[in-house]
């Protein structure tokens, strides 16, 4: 039996999720210029919110998804307002913000573990009744196709908003230089708040995708690292880059797992990150 079509599909499936994760991280990092580890927690919050609403409360799927994304966005928004803004007001350095975000990440993970236990839980209600699509000798599920569509849709929306709206121009101005942006009349606090909401919401979509496709555990490090690698490799500040980075990461990981065994997956992923940091730190597609 030929494994190649399925391997290609595996890459595409993983690439979709990594792209989503990278897009959200890119939105946050390219604007605020600090490395928010809390992103791993916002993504998990999205997944667990849907778990709670859809599987426990029994709300219908569409509404659960919408609320899940909003709750994730709100978590990011509030974290920024309560923690990061207070620190930035005191002129805290990026190192201090980084350490604070490690606190946010750990706190978020621990709180989720307390409320939802460390048990591995799947979001889909009946994992057996999935619609399957065959391509050559490979298989892809309806959920996975939906995730892939979502990744490209989110990318498209972000590109349009960032490039063609007043809000997008304000965000780019802040990303270039916050103080100059303020002097020309941009309310940077409000814009950063909105950016945080959007970034965390996109992270929430990634968390929900992971929950449906694989399953949830209160461990956000994996999704955080995948987001970071894909965003850095693709190019910070470039939305197309994040998607490209996501698929490249999936390609390297799955070829590694296929040719050498699953134990090599992360080693290959990080090797790619280091190579890029050394030889092309601006990423494949610079800003």
């Amino acid at each position: 039996m030929d494994a190649v079509p399925q391997i290609v599909l595996n890459i595409v499936i993983a690439g979709g999720i990594y792209s989503l994760a990278a897009l959200g991280f890119n939105v946050l990092y390219s604007t605020t210029r600090f490395f928010d580890l809390g992103y791993g927690a916002y993504a998990l919050v999205g997944g667990y919110a849907v778990l709670c609403l859809y599987k426990w409360v029994g709300i219908n799927l569409e509404l659960s998804l919408l609320l899940g994304v909003l709750i994730a966005g709100l978590t990011g928004f509030l974290t920024e307002k309560i923690v990061y803004r207070a620190l930035r007001a005191r002129r805290a350095s990026n190192t201090v913000l980084l350490i604070a975000s490690l606190g946010v990440f750990t706190l978020g993970q621990a709180a989720l573990a307390i409320f939802f236990s460390s048990q591995f839980q799947s979001l889909s209600r009946d994992i057996a009744s999935q619609r399957l699509f065959s391509i050559e000798s490979g298989v892809i599920t309806a959920t996975q196709l939906l995730i892939l569509t979502a990744a490209f849709a989110v990318m498209g929306i972000l590109v349009v908003v960032w490039r063609y709206t007043k809000f997008g121009r304000a965000v780019r101005a802040i990303a270039d230089d916050e103080e100059v942006a303020q002097t020309v009349g941009i309310d940077s606090e409000r814009v950063i708040g909105a950016v945080y909401f959007i970034g965390a919401a996109v992270g929430g979509i990634a968390g929900i995708a992971v929950g449906f496709d694989m399953g949830l555990q209160p461990l956000g490090m994996t999704i955080l690292l995948e987001a970071v690698i894909a965003a850095v490799v693709g190019g910070i500040g470039n939305m197309y880059g994040s998607v490209l980075g996501g698929f490249l990461l999936a390609l390297v990981e799955n070829i590694g797992a296929w040719q050498f065994g699953g134990e090599w997956k992360f080693a290959f992923a990080f090797a790619v990150l280091i190579l890029f940091l050394l030889y092309r730190p601006q990423g494949i597609l610079p800003k």
């Binding site: 460390s118 799947s122 399953g215 296929w258 065994g261």
Partner: protein, 373 residues
Amino acid sequence: MNKWIWALIVIIIVGLGWWAIGFSGNSAQSGTGPIKIGSVLPLTGDAASIGTIDRAAVEIAVAEINAAGGVNGRQLEMIYEDGQCASTAASNAANKLMNADNVIAIIGGLCSTETATFAPAAMQKKVVVISPASSAPNLSQTGKYFFRDYPSDAFQGKFAAEYAYNTLGARKVAVIYHISDWGTGIKNVFETRFKELGGEIVSESGEPQTATDYRTDLTKAKAANPDYIYTPMYPQGDTALMKQASELGIKAKILGADGWDDPQLAKDAKNLGLDILYTTGKTGTTDAFKQKLQQKTKSPDVPVGAPQAYDAVYILANAMKSAGTDPDKLADTIRATKYDGVSGHIEFDQNGDLTVADYVVKRMANGTATVVQ
């Protein structure tokens, strides 16, 4: 100047404290005081639900022994430390027990990782270690003072290989395993034995315990066209693997290890259309012990290691009755033990492993797992 005086005072206090601890520790092991024994079990963290019940089993045994007059008139004093199913925590816990409390023996750890980190130090300090649940094969060579009344996975891997080859008629097997003391250990034993029998390992893939994407591992296994996929993995990985195998239309059957012995998995497997078998220890315990434990914990669970932890305390206490607290005599006496406990018949070999281990094969069907005859 002030700073220096403060530093000096702190050093003196710490030094005095150290001396006092050492002093009280020594006196505890002399003639008539209580005999101090340590326990390293996961009381928080991933395996806490198991560890806290195993601790209750130890408490029951200690209370019974003390109520019956202790060991040669001396009471047992248990000191419980938290190993968290993690290497650093277990190492700190055991160091505290050995250096500050001067325990003569440690019951634990539960997870193989815990035991593997602190047992070598215990061997150097001549502290007897009896683990009620650590099953990693590489623990067998730990040393003279190490015992476990739970079977080594060397037995389970071998049993699974023989069952796959002889009973299931498998000739080609693909392996997907979790990289850990337990997963890697059991996988190695399985592969060696399966090849000895004449079988072929057609593909092999390891994943970290936290992995949730097994698609490429499964695709690789599927392409090699095996009769069975052997999967010594932990439950959270099993859940993801089952679902993805079903999506990928894998027709090969799955043979798991005791990491699959989780009631939730059997429920999840219900409609997946997979044939899942797994090996697990023949766990029998007496109704009397079950009742005692349930009375104490107010929970119906008798998890892995609980009967073994109870037996471990008795084995240690019985040995001390004739050997005293001298570590060499104690180890020799424990090695010669023939004991019928609540976990079954216990005899140790040269490595401190059980001489016999019984396994059963279970099949998941209709939401439950039943023993295959």
